[in-house]
């Protein structure tokens, strides 16, 4: 399918690219080798010998990657070649980092790597299930309002469960384990936003008055954005979870902007989120303490510095090239989140600024591929869905990385793929499965146009 640009001088087409599956295979092999290298590096640094599980671990990761690749080849042959390798690499590196932190006897939770490997396998399985059973992403459009209801239920569910570490984001089923429904709600609510905005975009974009150079939307069009804002504030108040509320509101504003091309929405979004954050921080003690720690990281509490300060020390001791895998002192970071929220601190200390930049670039590349998929997608729903999913991923990365590096107050979110946590890994694999599906549809060569223009008569020049 071709789209005419710039008055028909050239025809830029997103379709017709080669399938690039062999590129993906080569990159995947590379992406499996790097974590194995890291694994050997940790073993040599900690114990002076190659770790015993190295072969098994490498084979496990390689097997997951191979199965994923074969099914992608079968079910999404034209999908983007970079998404799967980068996800595999980040997941593999995450496993190595968690295993490396398992070597420290004091870091809770003990022995987390096998569990994480299991969750990764479940995540890849879900990824494949989505690819196999979701033949066309436009099917999701039928479930616009159902997904809204499902997302609200998922978001509201943790309110009825006890708070963990000050934030009510967990659903704990005794004997089975615990789950962060917010991670899944993130995907489901994107489906709703995409379906809703696709229908309402014209009303939101066109019915506005111009005032001081910006477009002011009509009062009644402000309804949905105010509703989402209220919802995200409710999450903030009742679940005291800064990250999730920022994620949902930010994602909505991003999609609104993409759907309507009106800068005024971003302005309103920023104003509303700033107002909401200040309002909640002024009376909620949990959020207020996070903000306080962010503003005064070096303050001592009961003779100890804050975790934020400890993380900053870790980054500082890592320097430009890091201490080397397995040779850092992440065990000195207090608290219970060393393997999840603070995993970037270990990256920063042991791989240094150089490694940190590489990891952040990998996240950036993933997001770029998501946006690229949105650009290439031919249907508006697919475009909005791809933007929403990659936007949600981008905001999550920003919120966590910003929180750990003390750019913004720390929130309880996990670094996708890298951090320890089952829900996060599973949900993000599913997220990228949907993106791969959209990208497969977008990059698939267009079917030959049925009515050939050859049938049209050539017009005869009459002097």
């Amino acid at each position: 399918m071709s789209t005419n640009t710039t008055g028909g001088t050239s025809t830029v087409s997103a379709g017709g690219l080669p399938s690039r599956r062999n590129t993906e295979l080569a990159l995947l092999a590379f992406a499996v080798v790097i974590p194995v290298f890291a694994y050997a590096n940790v073993g040599l640094a900690k114990n002076g010998s190659l770790p015993a599980g190295m072969v098994g671990y490498g084979l496990g990761l390689g097997l997951l990657a191979a199965v994923a690749h074969l099914l992608v080849r079968k079910f999404a042959p034209y999908a983007d070649p970079l998404i799967l390798p980068i996800c595999t690499l980040l997941n593999g590196l995450g496993l190595v980092l968690i295993w490396r932190l398992d070597q420290e006897p004091r870091v809770e939770p003990l022995n987390a790597a096998p569990g994480q490997l299991m969750w990764s396998a479940v995540g890849v399985a879900l990824f494949l299930a989505v690819l196999v059973f979701l033949k066309d992403h436009r099917i999701l459009q039928r479930y616009t309002y159902i997904s809204m209801a499902a997302a609200i239920v998922l978001l509201a569910l943790p309110m009825f469960f006890p708070a963990v570490n000050g934030a009510k984001i967990w659903v704990t089923i005794p004997g089975v384990g615990s789950l962060q429904p917010g991670e899944f709600a993130k995907i489901i609510i994107t489906v709703f936003f995409a379906g809703y905005l696709m229908v309402k975009r014209d009303a939101l974009a066109l019915a506005s008055r111009r005032f001081l150079g910006i477009y002011l939307p009509r009062g009644r069009d402000l309804g949905p954005i105010l509703a989402i804002w209220a919802l995200s504030l409710l999450i903030l108040v009742f679940e005291t979870d800064l990250g999730t509320s920022l994620l949902f509101f930010g994602m909505f504003v991003v999609m609104l902007y993409v759907a309507t091309e009106r800068t005024s929405w971003i302005l309103f979004g920023l104003l509303l989120s700033a107002a909401g954050a200040v309002f909640v921080a002024s009376f909620n003690s949990h959020v207020a303490s996070r903000v306080h720690n962010w503003l005064n990281p070096l303050e001592t509490v009961n003779g100890n510095v804050t975790e934020t300060a400890q993380v900053m020390y870790a980054f500082g001791s890592g320097g430009l090239f890091g201490s080397g895998l397995g040779e850092g002192y992440s065990r000195f970071i207090g608290g219970i989140a060393v393997k999840s929220d603070y995993i970037l601190a270990t990256v920063g200390e042991e791989l240094g600024l150089t490694g940190m930049m590489a990891i952040l670039l990998l996240y950036g590349l993933l997001i770029e591929r998501g946006i690229r998929t949105a650009l290439a997608a031919r249907d508006p729903f697919g475009k909005l869905l791809a933007v929403g999913l990659s936007g949600a991923f981008a905001i999550q990365v920003f919120v966590v990385a910003g929180g750990v590096t003390a750019l913004i107050p720390l929130t309880g979110m996990t670094m996708p793929f890298l951090a320890q946590g089952g829900s996060s890994v599973i949900a993000n694999w599913a997220l990228f499965a949907i993106l791969l599906r959209i990208s497969d549809t977008a990059r698939r060569p267009a079917p030959a146009p049925a009515p050939s223009p050859d049938v049209e008569m050539t017009q005869v020049v009459r002097p």
């Binding site: 050239s10 830029v12 017709g16 990159l27 290298f37 791989l351 990891i359 049209e456």
Partner: protein
């Protein structure tokens, strides 16, 4: 484990990590240029020039003398019409022009026939334009073509509303 080995591994790991990033960026880069190729310059997207589309009597790609010759044109430029700005590198291949989908340059021009004309190098590397029995004719400068004619450098070839030139 000696300090040296660990240092080498530490730096090696960073190098490998960055190598991955660079390779990934290269893949993106080739993807970008992949999209550009699918502009209407060369083959239609997803439909590489099929051998069957070429006239069967097409001679083997031009003699070496042609490409190396001084002053030989190296590209074909569309200078007027809806495809203005499109260029095709001349590499000894036959270029077909017309509204048919498998043409090298698919003309989006109501006055062009589906197989309108072709441009090919002869044995000496001289580029020849030949009208393929089109309805409205192919014009070299001001003259309607009746036989395959060598193209002088810079001479405009007019097909309907489209004008093509060979340039160095």
């Amino acid at each position: 484990m000696s300090e040296l080995t660990l240092t080498v591994m530490r730096l090696g790991f960073l190098a490998v990590l960055w190598l991955f990033v660079i390779v990934a960026v290269q893949v993106i880069r080739s993807d970008l240029f992949g999209t550009r190729v699918t502009q209407r310059t060369a083959a239609r997207p997803g439909r590489p020039e099929r051998p069957a589309a070429r006239p069967p009597q097409q001679p083997a790609p031009a003699g070496r003398g042609g490409r190396g010759r001084r002053g030989a044109p190296t590209k074909l430029v569309v200078s007027e019409g809806s495809l203005t700005g499109t260029t095709v590198a001349l590499q000894g291949q036959t270029i077909t022009l017309g509204r048919a989908h498998d043409s090298t340059i698919v003309l989006d021009d109501d006055y062009a026939s589906s197989r309108h004309a072709r441009i090919y190098p002869d044995r000496d590397g001289q580029w020849i334009v030949e009208d393929l029995g089109s309805t409205n004719g192919t014009y070299l400068d001001r003259n309607r073509l009746t036989t395959p004619t060598p193209i002088p450098p810079g001479a405009p070839i007019r097909i309907g509303k489209t004008v093509i030139e060979l340039r160095k």
